[in-house]
Symmetry: C2
């Protein structure tokens, strides 16, 4: 690669993958990293651990349904949970702009502590850097986490198989549309709200119902489209979605239609896609619907018998539309 970094290099789509492959993997590549799971799976003594990191640069830092701190804890808890792990320990690292309000910082820290407590994870180490005014936009937070992978569970983005159905735990695009509207100061009727939430207790319920779930991924940057394209590639399968089944809040439907956006590409922060063998789908779905974070759970598609790595949508009007990997500039600083 040559030239300079562009916003689309950080969007979680095609350009991000190019940067990852041609710069990061070129030098860092190894058997664990190359699996490209949400969390690395590492062995220490007899324990199988999941280990993950994410930096958060969301703008605005406070939004309806959360703030950068809650997002940071939920994001890392979720990366561990969707790897089939019990999230245990989290680190937090703050980069703060000189002049940032201590009251705001305290509000962020307080909500991080609250959500970590609810999720049952301990914040065990931290770091604080302060940089001169103008060297960072307010506050950026990194969270890293480790979890213990459950025995007899093997959840991996390379495991999707023909016959799997794809379940999502609720509506699409709530986080992304909330951020977009708040940033641009769009005012709508209704209540756009981020779905930012820790999904580990939902995942626990799902694994308890059926411990053979093939893949679980949370659909963050790049939305459901990015996540399903990655799974399609790593599992070498074709995925068919049913447009009729895609769950959308009225508010999100209205805004995306007006702005000409596809909700499949909009970021979520409390949504997961699970690949479950057809025979166990109803069982998993029924426990999900009893969980507060899964009341709107629904089957949105399946892995088909077709050959090749692709994701397509059976549209409401009876057509087929390819759902590509997102490309170009998505909304920056969505998380």
């Amino acid at each position: 690669m040559i030239g300079t970094i562009t916003l689309s290099d950080g969007s979680g789509g095609l350009q991000s993958n190019k940067l990852i492959n041609e710069v990061f993997f070129k030098y860092f590549g190894n058997d664990i990293l190359n699996q490209m799971n949400d969390a690395a799976q590492v062995d220490i003594d007899f324990a199988r651990l999941a280990f993950t990191t994410d930096s958060f640069v969301v703008n605005p830092i406070f939004f309806n349904g959360g703030n950068i701190g809650k997002l940071a804890v939920c994001g890392t808890v979720n990366d561990l949970a969707v790897s089939g792990a019990k999230p245990l320990y989290i680190t937090t690292a703050f980069i703060i702009e000189e002049g940032f309000s201590i009251k705001k910082l305290e509000e962020i820290v307080k909500s991080m502590a609250g959500v970590a407590n609810e999720a049952g994870v301990k914040i065990v180490a931290g770091d604080t850097k302060v940089v001169e005014k103008g060297s960072v936009d307010g506050i950026f937070i990194n969270t890293s986490g480790i979890g213990r992978i459950y025995d007899n569970v093997n959840i991996n983005c390379a495991n999707a198989q023909v016959g799997d159905v794809i379940i999502i735990n609720g509506t699409l695009g709530d986080h992304g549309m909330t951020i977009m509207c708040e940033r641009n100061k769009f005012i709508f009727e209704g209540n756009l709200k981020s779905d930012c939430a820790c999904l580990n207790s939902l995942v626990d319920t799902m694994i308890e119902a059926y411990d053979g779930i093939h893949v679980i991924r949370d659909a963050t940057r790049g939305g459901v489209a990015a996540v399903l394209n990655e799974i399609s590639e790593f599992s070498n399968v074709t995925i068919a979605l049913e447009e009729n089944n895609l769950p959308l809040k009225e508010e999100v439907k209205g805004v995306t239609e007006m702005l000409g956006l596809d909700p499949l590409y909009i970021a979520n922060e409390g949504k997961l896609c699970a690949f479950v063998p057809g025979a166990y789908a109803e069982k998993v779905l029924s426990v999900m619907r009893k969980h507060p974070l899964g009341t709107d759970a629904v089957i949105i598609g399946k892995v088909t018998h077709e050959l090749g790595q692709k994701v397509y949508l059976n549209t409401v009007v009876g057509g087929k539309r390819l759902v590509d990997m997102p490309s170009g500039i998505q909304l920056p600083r969505i998380c």
Copy 2:
């Protein structure tokens, strides 16, 4: 706390500790975090693990002896090593400014891979965020790491005891003075160079020579003064340093004298202070001196019989001078 964040809140000195205690610990506090070691010590199954995080915001990003990427890997490897752990796995998270040179990024990534390889750690997960021009100054990097704590080793900043001698593995202030001079474009004769290095193989050698070492800390932000004050506080001991024994490179001596700076307060990135019972000091010192990163190792002081938490210096001219916790603005973005 009220008001706004200042640069000194991130300096690793008194103000940092106030922010940590009054904001972070107020909400995050728990038995593991409160130990304030360089890495958290956590148990998973039968394994004792060390877990740590650091963000790096150094300016300039390339300097004599290293760059922000090498610094990030070394920093996290060192935090694990000085906890008595074998560093195993590292995550890297990049926050990059739109427009950043891909050639520079590749140079940074390449040096990270090289130093990780030398240190025997695997980079297993990562994250990349790109933010708009002006929202971050170039590139910031977070590294988090986990290591396996050696059996029968108990290295902790609360373990210093009367009778311990304090060994440092080489000269003071090399990193801090290199950054300061390069940032301000001071030109000196001689060769100021950061000591940025991974210390894990040195620590391995020390532990092999004597597995009962009480404390090891790397002396980064705030220098040897900050680290010894923290150990004095956590171990509730008095520490006496010998000015005569403090090792300094000619270049650093010259610049610090000219600028009126105290090398005890200047950051290092490849220096550790070890607290070793007097009876084992010569044994540990002799293996250190045979290691490339310990050729200048020397005893700089001891834990005295005096009561109270303080650090003082027996000066060359026969006086005593208190070595306080650093206070006020240190050089920002030193690491």
